[in-house]
C-alpha cells in the first residue's frame, strides 16, 4: 500500500516536471514566437518586395538592393489605384454609418421589447447571417444590373450592408442584454419615455459595444472580396480589396507592383488592429458567444 502510494508520488512528480517545462516560459514563448513568425513573415516579405522594382524581383534576394518607391508610384498614379483606395474608404465608412444607424436601435429593440413573433423574427435575422452569401451572387448580379447599380459605389454599399447588418444586429443585441434592464426601468419611473431612457441612459453605456460594431463593420467591409468582385467591373467602383486581383489577369504579372498594392490594401487594417485590438476582441466574442 505505502509502496504503491510512493510509486504514484514519484511518477506524479516526474510527470508534472515534464509538464512544468512544457508550460514554462521557454516552450510557451517558443510556440508563440513561431506562430508570430508564420503570421508576420509573409507580410514582411511582401513589404520588402514592394520596395523593389518590377525587374529587381527576379534578382533572387529577399532584401531589396536599392529600395525604391517606384512600385507605389506605378500602382497609385500610373495605374490609378488611388481611386480604388478612395472607393474603399467611401464604401467602408458609408457601410459602417448605415449599419450602425440601423443595427443599434434594432439590437436594443430585440433586447428589451416583447412583440408578436419576436423570437421568430430574431431567428430570421440569425438565419440571414448564417445564409451562405455565395448563393446570392447571381441574384445580386441580376438585381444590380436591372437597377442600374452595377459598377457603382451604391451597388457595392448595398451588398456590404446585406453582408454585415444581420451580424451587427445580433452583436448589438448581445451588448444590450449585458446592460441591466433595471437601468431603463428606473429611468422610466423617473419620468423618461422609452426613447429618452434609451438615449440618455442605455446608449452612453453601450458606447464600447457600438464602437466594437463600427470597427468590425469597417474591417469586414474593407476586407470583403466576393460581392465587390461581382458588382464591379473597373476602378470606377472597385475597392482596393478587389483591385489587387486585377494584376493576376495581366500577361506577365508585375510582382513588385502587386506587392505594393497588397501593402496599400493591408496598411489600414493593420492600423485599425493595432489601435482598436480590444474592441475587435470584444466584438468578435460577442458575435460568437452568448445566447
Amino acid at each position: 500500500m505505502s509502496l504503491k502510494e510512493n510509486n504514484e508520488r514519484i511518477s506524479y512528480e516526474t510527470r508534472q516536471r515534464v509538464w512544468d517545462v512544457i508550460e514554462g516560459p521557454m516552450i510557451v514563448h517558443l510556440v508563440l514566437g513561431l506562430s508570430v513568425f508564420i503570421v508576420i513573415s509573409p507580410l514582411l516579405w511582401e513589404l520588402l518586395t514592394s520596395f523593389k522594382t518590377n525587374e529587381a524581383v527576379y534578382n533572387l534576394n529577399f532584401i531589396p538592393a536599392d529600395p525604391t518607391l517606384s512600385s507605389y508610384y506605378d500602382v497609385l498614379i500610373a495605374r490609378g489605384y488611388w481611386k480604388a483606395m478612395l472607393n474603399s474608404i467611401i464604401i467602408s465608412s458609408t457601410t459602417t454609418v448605415i449599419v450602425i444607424l440601423l443595427s443599434v436601435p434594432a439590437g436594443y429593440a430585440f433586447s428589451r421589447f416583447r412583440f408578436p413573433f419576436d423570437n421568430l423574427i430574431f431567428i430570421g435575422v440569425l438565419f440571414s447571417r448564417l445564409f451562405p452569401p455565395i448563393g446570392l451572387i447571381v441574384p445580386y448580379y441580376q438585381i444590380m444590373t436591372s437597377l442600374g447599380l452595377l459598377n457603382t459605389l451604391p451597388g457595392v454599399i448595398v451588398a456590404q450592408v446585406y453582408l454585415w447588418l444581420p451580424l451587427m444586429v445580433y452583436i448589438m443585441r448581445n451588448f444590450f442584454i449585458s446592460i441591466p434592464q433595471e437601468l431603463d426601468e428606473s429611468a422610466r419611473v423617473d419620468g423618461c419615455t422609452r426613447l429618452q431612457a434609451f438615449k440618455h441612459v442605455v446608449l452612453p453605456l453601450a458606447k464600447p459595444g457600438i464602437a466594437a460594431c463600427a470597427i468590425l463593420t469597417f474591417l469586414y467591409s474593407w476586407r470583403e472580396f466576393l460581392f465587390s468582385l461581382i458588382v464591379t467591373r473597373n476602378l470606377d467602383a472597385q475597392p482596393i480589396s478587389v483591385a489587387v486581383y486585377r494584376f493576376v489577369g495581366d500577361v506577365s504579372v508585375s510582382w513588385a507592383s502587386l506587392a505594393a498594392a497588397c501593402v496599400l490594401a493591408l496598411i489600414p487594417t493593420a492600423i485599425v488592429v493595432f489601435t482598436f485590438q480590444r474592441y475587435i476582441v470584444s466584438g468578435l466574442t460577442a458575435g460568437a458567444l452568448k445566447q
Partner: protein, 318 residues
Amino acid sequence: MATEGDLEPGPATSDRFGSSIGGRVHRFVNEHTLAFMLGPALVVITAIFIYPVLFLFYQSLILTVPGLPAQFAGLDNYVTMLRSDQFWTFFEQTLIYSTGSLVITVVSGLTIALGINQVSRKWLRNTYSTLLMLAWAIPIAVVALIWRQILLGTEFGALNMLLMNVGLISSPIAFLANPDLALIIVLLVDAWARMPFAMVVFLAGLQSIPQHLYDAAYVDGATTLQTFRAVTLPRLRPYFAIVGLITWMFAFRAFAIIFPMTNGGPGSRTTVLSIHIYRKGMVNLNFGYAAAVAVFLVVVTVVVATAYVTQIIGSIDQ
C-alpha cells in the same frame, strides 16, 4: 430575450410634448418606439436579403442555357446536378477543404490561446494577440495573393528561394501546380487566416474558467494533463462547438482564398462548390444550374447549423 411584456408607451405621455407640430411628431415617434427602432433594419434586411433569396429559389427551377430562351424546368437543374460526377467531386473537395481547415484552425487556435493564457505580463499578451490577429484582419484576397507569390513555382518565389538558398532543393517546386499538393496548400492558407478568430474565442473561454477550479485540482495533486482534461476541456466545450460551427460553415462556403490563389486549378483539383457556382453562374451564365448548386450549399449549411445549434443549446443547459 427581454422579459418585460410592454408595448404601451412610457408613463405620462399624454401632455408632455405639447401640441406644436414638433411635439406631435415627437409624440407619434414615442408611441411607436418599437416600430421606429426595429422597422428600418427589418425593412432593409427584407429588401436586400429575403427578396434575393426568393429569387434564388425561383431561378433554380428555370432552365437557362445561354443562347436559348429561358423556360420553366421544374427540378431539371437539380436532377442534372445530382447525376453529375463532376458535382460530387467538387462536393468532396469542398468537404476536404472545410474539414481540413476546421481541424487546423481549432488545433492551432487552441494551442496559441493556451500559450497566451500562460503569459503573465499583460503587454506581452496583447502584443502576441495583436500581431497574430493581423492574419485575420487583412483583406482576404491580399492573403491569397501574398501566399500565391510566396508559393510561386519558380526560383523567385519566396519559399523556393529560401529552400534553394538553404540547399534543401536544387530546382524549384511548383507548389500550386501540383495536383496532389494544391488542395492541401489552399486549405492551410484558409486556416492561416481563420486561426486568429479561434484564438480569440478560445482565449475568452479560458479566461472564463474560475481560478479556484485550478487551485482545487492542484491541491488534489492533479498533473497539468489531468487538470486540462478534467477542468479545461469540459469548460471549453461550448467554445469548441461555436468555433467549430463557425469555422466549418465559413470554410464550406469559402471563395476568396481559392479564387485568387488557384482559380480552382490545377485542372479542377481545388474547385470547391463556391468556385463551381461562380463559374457556372458568372462565367458560363447558366444561372439556373448555378442557383441549384447554391440551393444545395444552403441546404447543407442549414442542416449542419441546425443540428449543431441544438447540440450547443443542449450542452449549455447541462
